[in-house]
Symmetry: C2
Subunit: 158 residues, 2 copies
Amino acid sequence: MIRITREADYGILLMTCLAQAEGQPRSAAALAQQRRLPLPMVSKILKALARAGLLISQRGVQGGYSLARLPAEISAADIIGALEGPLAITECSGENHDGCSRLEHCEVSGHWPRINQAIYAALQSISLLEMSRPDPPRPVRFHAPHRVMAINATSSLV
Amino acid sequence: MIRITREADYGILLMTCLAQAEGQPRSAAALAQQRRLPLPMVSKILKALARAGLLISQRGVQGGYSLARLPAEISAADIIGALEGPLAITECSGENHDGCSRLEHCEVSGHWPRINQAIYAALQSISLLEMSRPDPPRPVRFHAPHRVMAINATSSLV
DNA sequence: TTAATCGGTACCGGATTAGTACTATTTATG
DNA sequence: CATAAATAGTACTAATCCGGTACCGATTAA
């Protein structure tokens, strides 16, 4: 399946909290409490988001994190991308096919960037503003032909 | 990062082989040899694809697998979806939010199906026919703003 | 009858991820 | 100026999941 790491999953949850906070900084502890997530994890994720430039961090008493841009200017792709690090497993979907031992028997590799881009575009089309709507209009049923294609969203699992 | 399992990755490789075979059945061993993939793995994947109705299997001597539909009628979403099984980790992105212990503190969950569908649509727009073109026109560079969003396509890694 | 091939299940090892612990650094506030 | 509240960084452990293998049964053309 196509899955997203739990880190990115939590990241989206936290970002929606901050979107609703309207620029006012929130501490990691407050966010963890609000979403019922483990504090160290929340802390780690917020740090990463700040490093990626999506959040502004304010240290010291009364400090916290706040959005660096307006919710409408932040996409799901931004958040997920920020939390996934520039991992090395990108060889065949990215630009550098060097070091690909199977290249001579693989005519498909050139197509991965296309798929890549298609998914990226899909994720970029969804803004944080949209995701922050408190009660979304229950979207139309997923029209998978025979089997549900699932994103591994573990955010709400036990 | 957003990653695809290696199984699905191999699956696409194998499907392109079969697309080029033009209806003529190929044995698992032949496909494994052609793509330089481990035979047991190939066997496992082909079985799953056949069960999903994407391949037709012919047992016995001179048997093998062949496409159940025309390459143009099979999408990347079909292949990936077939290999990812109806895992249980779908609770929050699928339809049934039941059993989600954090539901009351999670206003985002309702949005996962949307993201889900967006990605699904992207994958469905790419047909096996397109992917089987021997040497694809090197697609335009991936226009990620600051960081490459990567699909973990490990097909061509060592 | 035989050999080639698909079908299914169970299992193991390794890699990645989730989560934790600890310490240093910054800063508002009294 | 001292203190407490908060972020920043790093290293580490534990659990899960994935890739891969092995084995045996069922089919079927020759």
